[in-house]
Symmetry: C2
Subunit: 134 residues, 2 copies
C-alpha cells in the first residue's frame, strides 16, 4: 500500500482490537513494516511477528481491554502523533497516552514509540534560563 499516516494508524489501532490472529496479521501486513519497531515504557517488539505476539499477550492478560483514539493524526516529514486511551472490559479508563509514529516510503509504520500519562513535571533546581517564564 501507499496510504496516508491516518490509514496506517487506523489499521494499527484496529490490529490491537482484533482478536483473530490471522485477521490481525493481515491488518499488520498492510500497516506495519516487516522490521518495524514498537516500544513503550514497558515493552519492546522488533518486527511484525513480535508486535503481533505482543498484542496477543496483551489481549490474553487483559481480556476485553481496548484502545480508542483521542485525537486525529498529525503528520509532518513522515513522522506523526496521535492520542489514545486504554479502557478495560467495562469501558473504564485505565491509561492515557500518545504514540509517535514513523512511516516508511510505502506508508507503513516502521516505528511506534508510546508514552504513557502526562509529561513529567519540571525538576526543581534546573537553571533559571531553561524554565523562566517572565
Amino acid at each position: 500500500m501507499s496510504g496516508t499516516g491516518e490509514d496506517a494508524v487506523r489499521g494499527y489501532i484496529t490490529a490491537w482490537l482484533t482478536t483473530d490472529s490471522a485477521e490481525r496479521t493481515a491488518l499488520l501486513e498492510r500497516c506495519w513494516a516487516d522490521d518495524g519497531v514498537y516500544t513503550d515504557p514497558r515493552n519492546e517488539a522488533v518486527g511484525r511477528g513480535a508486535l503481533a505476539a505482543l498484542i496477543a499477550g496483551f489481549q490474553q492478560m487483559q481480556p476485553g481491554a481496548h484502545f480508542v483514539l483521542t485525537s486525529g493524526v498529525d503528520e509532518h516529514h513522515r513522522m506523526l502523533r496521535f492520542g489514545w486511551r486504554m479502557l478495560d472490559a467495562q469501558n473504564q479508563p485505565q491509561l492515557e497516552g500518545f504514540d509517535i509514529g514513523e512511516l516508511d516510503d510505502s506508508g507503513r509504520l516502521k516505528r511506534i514509540t508510546g508514552f504513557f500519562g502526562p509529561f513529567p513535571p519540571v525538576p526543581t533546581g534546573w537553571p533559571e534560563h531553561l524554565v523562566r517564564v517572565g
Copy 2:
C-alpha cells in the same frame, strides 16, 4: 560525552538560547550528533551545521524570542519527550509544543521531531470501534 537524555535536552535548549555562534556550536557538539536530523511542521535541518544555521535564522527573524521547558524529560529505549513554550522578547507566550528526541549511543541527540500546539481533534466519521468510549 555519554550523558543522560536530560543532559542532552538541557544542552539543546540552551543552544537555542545562545546567540554567540561559536558558543552555540560548542554546545551542539556536546549534545547533537554530527548527522542529527531536526524537523518540525515548518522546518528541516540535517546535520549539526544545518541546525546551528536554523537556530541563527530563528534568532535573526525573531530577536529576543526564546524557549522554556514546560516539563521534565521522560525517556525509554533511548527515546524521550519534553514540553516547551516559545515566548517573544516581551515574554508573551507565542507557541506551545513538545519534542520527541532520539539519543545515539554516546547520549547525543540524533533526532528531534517537534510538534506544535494541541493534538488535532478526532475526525468526524471515523469508524465507531476506533473512537467508542463506552
